[in-house]
Symmetry: C2
Subunit: 331 residues, 2 copies
DNA sequence: CTGAAAGCGCTAACAC
DNA sequence: GTGTTAGCGCTTTCAG
């Protein structure tokens, strides 16, 4: 089928292209009979407006660029779902870009994004993305950052306060006399780890204690499990906090192999989990992070910025909920 | 920053816009001094070619539409990674679309895709997608289908032969005298299940046996685990084959709760697994499905179609490898 | 209410 | 080698 343009439709309907344009854009000024004639021509010819041409004419592409870290979509999957659902409602398309730590050149991706003339960019990243933001800013591209608290002119963010989450968790345990609380490093999410550590420190300080139970995973270990297997030969803790369920599982397996019973001898908590956490035994106590909402809210925020609606809160903090499961005792 | 166009660059460099166009497209006819002047102007003004305008002028957007099922990116994540890596090499962008069974209107998505004038579409789907294909075909949009064997004019596919995988697996067990082999239904992947069932039947028939061990999950059960918990109260099998590791885990948990030891009393195998399979205990024996390659090869095929390179095999079958782990005995 | 015409930013003949 | 110009398909004043 030859790609049919607005001209052919106009000719078929015996009107000018301006009228066709009005019809496809739902302008109410077109008289009913003309409109119907045009609509019939559209259907007959199988005409589909060329979004690229529209984009050029309007300087508006109705597509949003999305940047996420590569690797496992296990955790970002829900975020993307939330994002796409809202995007669909507002008729936005999503252009997907991933970055791989140390491999992908972020600047190159930002370059591609600027050239593609997306209306806005949503960035999900553990990393600080100041450079990308300021570059994007120079080209007047609105930005929503997920998982980092930041804002500015045409820059919003949606995040969960991990620092507070860990702070409260530690406080609760400290109140119950549990003081040997270890925090496991997440090498893939350095920034998140930093916030978690800050939370732990703050809780301990509040109780007049010093915090120094950070389990760092040596660079030479490719998997944290390998390291932990060795680690638990001569280390014990009352509670270990991990970022992700996969890491908590590594802790769990390594501990058990060393005769540590969970949760009797040692408790385990993770921050973000996946659907797998409902299937494994024991199930891991975790925070319920509203991943879907993280995406949905971000996209909604983006549409607001693009339609110049007022954004009341440029740094939107979503709430979490601690869910006790089988790897923790009940106090 | 005002969005700078090719005109401004031309003016700044003291040349015509045609020359600027030549420079940004790497045309070799431009004399070095002129080229340098243009390049300096580009840098000075921070000019980024407008891909939308280029797209309109060339009738070519260098973006590919990707349609995947929603929900778990757990299994599609690797496919997407493969796809994106190759797309990046060939300078293609990816427009992401998801479909949710019974919720998203596929036709509407195809409509959006046609309007967006992508150069091609890659569809990952368990479902038969004939309707979408023929519609896309009418608009001359090349298609690559992942996970379904199908081909035609401007239609290619990349898949793994699950039927054969199950056929061979069953044959191996039958040869060892194991005859009570059950196959678990995957409600989310009806088509895949169908192929698996076909493979099992073929194997049994080859041995002169009839196959009738299909575990259907009643519609009223929201999770297969709930059903299986009950099922294993009065059912025993030598081997249960599931599609995904999550389903195999449901089998595992349900069986154990009913006093069935794995693998001693019952073995379990799944077709596709995730990174979680390396963390759980016992680890589930599975086929190694080349998910990343499924994506990478598809994208490569797409670039071939778009550049009119010859495609020697329009229905590309990728290989799998059975990997024995802790849920199976060694024969 | 509808049509004519001037762009949107870029590419690709075709001149010179 | 470089410039001129006619589109690519659509939107949007501005007339009528």
């Amino acid at each position: 089928m030859k790609r049919v343009t607005i001209y052919e439709v106009a000719k078929e309907a015996g009107v000018s292209l301006a009228t066709v344009s009005r019809v496809i854009n739902g302008s109410s000024v077109v008289k009913a009979p003309t409109r119907i004639r045009v609509e019939e021509a559209i259907k007959k010819l199988g005409y589909k407006p060329n979004a690229i041409a529209q984009g050029l004419a309007l300087s508006k592409t109705t597509t949003i660029g999305l940047i996420i870290p590569e690797a496992s979509f296990t955790y970002t999957g829900q975020v993307i779902n939330g994002l796409l659902d809202v995007a669909r409602i507002y008729n936005y398309n999503i252009m997907l870009h991933t970055i791989t730590e140390g491999i992908t050149d972020v600047d190159k991706i930002v370059d591609v994004i600027i050239k593609s003339r997306v209306d806005g960019v949503i960035i999900y990243s553990d990393k600080i993305v100041d450079d990308s933001i300021s570059l994007l800013n120079e080209y007047n591209i609105p930005i929503v950052v997920i998982s980092n608290k930041i804002s500015g002119d045409s820059v919003c963010s949606v995040y969960v306060d991990f620092e507070k989450a860990i702070y409260e968790l530690c406080l609760k345990y400290l109140a119950n006399g549990v003081k040997d609380i270890a925090l496991l490093e997440d090498r893939k999410n350095v920034n998140t780890t930093k916030f978690m550590l800050k939370g732990a420190k703050r809780a301990f300080e509040k109780e007049g204690l010093a915090y120094d139970n950070f389990i760092e995973i040596p660079k030479e270990y490719r998997s944290s499990y390998k390291f932990l297997s060795k680690y638990f030969k001569d280390h014990r803790h009352n509670l270990v906090i991990a970022n992700r369920d996969s890491q908590a599982m590594a802790v769990l397996n390594a501990a058990r192999e060393n005769g540590i019973r969970v949760p009797e001898d040692m408790e385990i908590v993770c921050v973000i989990d996946t659907k797998y956490n409902s299937m494994i035994r024991p199930t891991i106590s975790s925070f319920s992070i509203p991943s879907y909402d993280l995406g949905a809210v971000s996209m909604r925020l983006m549409t607001k910025m693009l339609q110049n609606e007022e954004v009341e809160d440029k740094e939107k903090c979503l709430s979490y909920l601690f869910t006790s499961r089988e790897t923790t005792k009940v106090y």
